[in-house]
Symmetry: C2
Subunit: 305 residues, 2 copies
């Protein structure tokens, strides 16, 4: 079955009568835009945010049908509730909304860590509400309601990590939502998800933030020249490092074990590379560079580049 | 004085009668293209490469007036000789060409490490020949004569690191060559150059090659998923990691001390970040992320982004 595109006309009845987006930053506002554009995601889009200023902006942008500053009011009568806040805010949000979720509703999310979400939110989900954790692997260096765009999820992966025993129809409804956003959907065990994401995304961001700090610690004269002469390598790092601070702080803290293990592996490998540089082990260095190129080629072949 | 652009008509007589490019990869072939396009860099462009196949390609591309497989023949009668090979090949090249350099000629280069170039090439430069090491800070992830383009140096920095006592007219001639390529030229002490480049370019590349290896070492199933689900963070890393292996091996080995020091600083910082993640030190993590964003903002303000 070909993946529907954002620009396609509505294929069917709206998937949900009312979709409540708790958090309306890059991801939440992009989902809202897709929903507005297609019309077949939800009959009504309700947006909730931490500040009235964000909601005022949502109204100006016209990307939701209704805005609510109180998350409990936002989820009233919603048959789909999507947590789009930083994962560190999930527990408090879930506590606030749990008594107000309607039976048969689906609670889902978009967080980058999945074991922590199941740990924090799972026990608070009322009986009769379906819980389908999800992670659209898409993003930019920008944040806030202005940063979203309807094409963000086009051709990207969305990973679902439903706990054992989750209603298959609820899982399918969330899968269909993401397919209508243009994504390719796959189901994955939450622990495996967290390990894979630790190496492909969380560790690269931790490294990027770190190296910017290392450069910033140089003596004043050098620091100015770092900025002045930044070659392409460092520029790519700082592009990553410009991403949303709260979101990334929460990701690091909520995927701690996998992240620390991948960092330990990376540090061992970096030390081995340092040793090869110190002792002039050209064969070792060339082998590492060749492997970098090989994994790059795989990426290009998989059209993820 | 406004920087001349590549597309401008010739401003003056050619700077040099004969420009010999020893190495015709990304940088060398880009200089050749600028010279061909502008006409005021050199009256004649001679290209030398390690393989006849590269030279055949140069002929097909029409970016040089003459090709020579023997570097000694390539430099005959040239009033400017530019080393454009990986820096590890410089000593052998300098040995091969030294007896054939004409008095008054300028010997220059484009290498990313400058202390090593002065150490390897300096002692071989015959009396009467001027030695002006240079480093255009520009590049892409591609290599070979096909990868070059005339706009590569446009708006980029070119750093000159002439040894004390170098003839100011020779330095000015090389500065003018790079200005005609569209670059902003600055002079710098070679040791300082190597430290600044270690943090802005060499360390980021070492890290990128390393993390690709770390990912490649994961168990087979995870590795395939790394490729499949590569989020934007990892993709940026692998873009860097696809750069020319020989060039980077030589850069690492020839800027060993500065690179190892920057790696040691970075590793300390990464360990401090790991400790903050392990113990949930949110203030520390937020501070590091904020500093990454600050340095990013500086980059944007300096229009280097």
């Amino acid at each position: 079955m070909p993946t529907p595109r954002v620009a396609d006309p509505p294929l069917a009845e709206p998937l949900f009568r009312r979709l409540a987006l708790l958090g309306i930053g890059l991801i939440g506002s992009s989902v809202a835009r897709v929903a507005k554009l297609r019309g077949d995601l939800a009959g009504e889009i309700v947006a909730n945010a931490r500040t009235q200023a964000s909601l005022d902006r949502v109204v100006e942008l016209g990307i939701a049908d209704r805005v609510e500053l109180d998350p409990a009011r936002a989820v009233e009568g919603a048959d789909c509730v999507m947590l789009c806040a930083p994962v560190g805010a999930y527990a408090a949000l879930a506590q606030a909304i749990a008594p107000h979720l309607v039976p048969g509703a689906i609670l889902t999310d978009v967080g980058s860590t999945k074991q922590s979400v199941i740990r924090d939110v799972g026990p608070l989900v009322p009986a009769g509400v379906h819980f389908v954790p999800a992670h659209p692997i898409a993003g930019t260096e920008f944040s806030g309601p202005d940063s979203g765009f309807a094409e963000l999820f086009q051709g990207r992966w969305c990973l679902l990590t439903p706990p054992p025993g989750t209603d298959p129809e609820a899982v399918e409804a969330i899968a269909e939502l993401w397919r209508r956003c243009g994504s390719n959907v796959e189901t994955m065990e939450p622990g495996h998800h967290d390990r894979v994401l630790a190496i492909v995304s969380h560790l690269p961001h931790l490294i990027a933030f770190t190296i910017c700090g290392t450069a910033d610690d140089l003596a004043d004269e050098s620091r100015q020249q770092v900025v002045k002469f930044a070659a392409s390598g460092f520029r790519d790092f700082t592009r990553i490092a410009a991403s949303d601070p709260t979101m990334w702080r929460d990701v690091f803290l909520n995927n701690r074990e996998a992240l620390l293990e991948m960092l330990a592996r990376f540090t061992e490998d970096a030390q081995a590379m340092a040793r090869a540089v110190r002792w002039g082990d050209t064969a070792y260095i060339e082998d590492k560079i060749a492997r970098g190129r090989a994994i790059r080629r795989s990426l290009i072949e998989q059209k993820q580049a």
